[in-house]
Symmetry: D2
Subunit: 252 residues, 4 copies
């Protein structure tokens, strides 16, 4: 039996012209959406609109909480204690849940954004604080996090469901971490190569790191980035390739 895969994308992060339309296109392809909750990006309008569309498309709705740093898109780590991390996740979950409720949808998962995602991998107390905030809100929610990482472990220890996340357009280091964006070989651009690589990962659990090492990675959900030109086409191609191989594509 083939393990199913989820396709997730971060939505509601852009304010420029055209962004809402792109997001709308993405919602026809992905099976779960992570909505920016107003700290690193997003606002009540984008959240209302994206939650309404996710409800209409039957896409799983997730909170995408970030650090309170709109000026830098939530990309700089901040010195926060566990209580502060827990509260900022609680706040953003509550805010998005209000829109889910308005549109008759419900919150399905939580996936931290940017520096908060990385802080959870580097500091156990941060990972536990995120897991606690999710559990306090609803023990049925699913936590999306780096495959094999600390956030998922903290979430499991808290009794939460988890989804191991892999990145379609990013390369991996021999230790299973992502190649930092600052390095030249961090990103993958060839849509055929990306599709083939992801199909192989889902079918075999194996992925090749930048130095040729064969990694064994759990993959419950693939993160897709819709923010580059032609992203929608690439993502559609990836979904088609997965479906063609008989891989069930749906939410975890």
């Amino acid at each position: 039996m083939i393990r199913p895969i989820d396709l997730n994308a971060d939505l509601g992060e852009c304010l420029g012209p055209g962004a809402p339309e792109d997001d709308a296109d993405l919602l026809d392809i992905v099976t779960s959406a992570n909505i920016a909750c107003g700290f690193h990006a997003g606002n009540p309008d984008t959240m209302a609109r994206t939650a309404a569309r996710a409800a209409a498309c039957g896409v799983a709705l997730g909170a995408h909480p970030g650090l309170p740093d709109r000026q830098n898109f939530g990309r700089h780590a901040m010195a926060l204690d566990a209580d502060q991390v827990c509260s900022l996740v609680t706040y953003q979950i509550g805010a998005l849940a209000a829109f889910a409720r308005r549109y008759g949808h419900s919150l399905h998962h939580v996936k931290p954004h940017g520096a908060l995602y990385h802080m959870a991998e580097q500091d156990t107390a941060t990972a536990q604080a995120i897991a606690l905030a999710v559990w306090e809100w609803d023990p049925q929610l699913c936590v999306y996090g780096l495959s094999g990482g600390h956030l998922l472990r903290a979430a499991r220890e808290q009794g939460l469901r988890t989804a191991a996340e892999v990145f379609a357009d990013r390369t991996y280091q021999p230790d299973g971490t992502l190649t930092p964006r600052t390095q030249p070989d961090a990103l993958l651009y060839d849509p055929d190569f990306v599709a083939e690589r992801m199909v192989q990962l889902v079918m075999t659990g194996k992925l090749t790191a930048v130095d040729g090492t064969e990694l064994t990675l759990a993959a419950d959900t693939i993160c897709l980035h819709g923010d580059t030109p032609s992203a929608v086409e690439r993502i559609r191609a990836l979904r088609d390739a997965l479906v063609e191989q008989g891989i069930p594509v749906h939410r975890p």
Copy 2:
């Protein structure tokens, strides 16, 4: 039978040293608290702390949503359509409700802040959008608004409970509106005079405007400002004066 009165204060709006302590003192005196929700002021920490204290003190917990304008404390009116107003209130209610849930408390009321409060009085669509957001969240919530004003009418038409608000330390114009803060006689400082004036209003429904006109004003809740030196003492004196007259002091 004497009509009961509620005492409300806006809390969690300051970040300076000492502010949390003052808020803590106020929570022993007031019967309902309006918590800044992170748009004009406040953050997840202040909301968590204040919600926890309100729960511990048995004080009615209210959302105090403002315009997304921390730089100016939510004091400048913004051109927002009804959908945008509704969504920004939904967002802030949801965020605070998450902390109420964490501390086993529940949301009791919503009172808009600053320019949003005034926009509701000047524009019916804004008043209706606020009422709709409250009703969508929970039809049992109470809306606090200017006594005799448009927000309360919109809330009643939406089927919501309402509390007519009067201001202890502000003077009134002959038409029942507040004297703008920019005018020299806008504020009242004498605690004895303020207490006497509020006791009279609650007992008789009458209040004297700046020009001597006798106003008839419904009063369900008195707004108290804790942000000036010696405010806590003045507020305690007011509460004592009300209680001395046999006026029940509790949430609406």
Copy 3:
């Protein structure tokens, strides 16, 4: 003698991946750049980087001050008095000028962003406050504003140089104002048509409104939007078309 034309673009407004690269491409084509100054968008990093590139490319550097509303990209009008408008323009000019100074460049112009641009057209006091802030900083600066509009008149009355701005990819109403973006025919997409239309405008001073009315419009600078896919190609095509007709393309 053919009147020269300037090509301007709003830069440093995006934080998403790819944005800086696009901006870099645009700086090879345009002759003046309007840099977001941290209120509606932009941050010290984007300002430093864009100012450095503008200096290196010899592109005229302009401040693009907006309303303090990053959550909504400075698109909602705010109720501000003249002093407040003047101060927020002063602030943003000063901030950008510090980067100009760092890179040995100097500030050339000021062009308000979004709702502030439109507020200046609807309220004379706002237009005058902007002009005053520019003049107080440096009476030699140039003000970019809507061709035939109130901001340019206020700037001229203040003794400032002005550049009449037209929009390449927007349609016009019979009264010379832009068709609001909410209307279906607001935007022009065909690059050949846009180029032809702009060449005609620069050569003849005539532009056709949506209803066929022939408008007479001064055009010192054409605003280009780099935020849609393929924008760079379209903008290059427009520049080539202008140059081909012998129209000098340089800063005002």
Copy 4:
């Protein structure tokens, strides 16, 4: 000959009612003012007003740059590289300098706020980046920083003037650092004791740490906090005590 002392206060950090008035009172007592520049607190209005008053009172005007974190008053350290630190200081200096220019005043010094102040003490690259930003703007500016600390050393190495800062209402650890605010004995409240302690420090260069250790501390400027009730009275008492001892009180 007695070494002169400067009295500095952080101004323009509050938006609550009464704040501007308190600031105005403080400007009659202090000899230098550090103005919040819109990142951790402050806005163009408070900057304009405070710069105008400082100019009128002949008080030395300083930039008080903070981290871009208004939600938490700039109190959480952020992971920023040296370029980013330099740029955010440049931005805030430029913004305040524009108001100094408007009111015929000039910038005299720079003193980082909150977490940025502490980051400079813990990370040499941060200290150097701040010093570089100040020097790039104007090599004549003075840097205020912790007496005996890393920021002052970096500033001196950059060729800048410096002022060693001590804190009137804070206690010190045996190593010369401030007792963290989270500890119960961090703050001093008795105005007579504070005045006596500061007079002794200025006259002798000696200060007693919490454990009785006698510290030797350079003191060019005393930081005063105006944000607690009765602060103005305490500060005036301190100034009077210094003057009574024949200590010259003026800017460094």
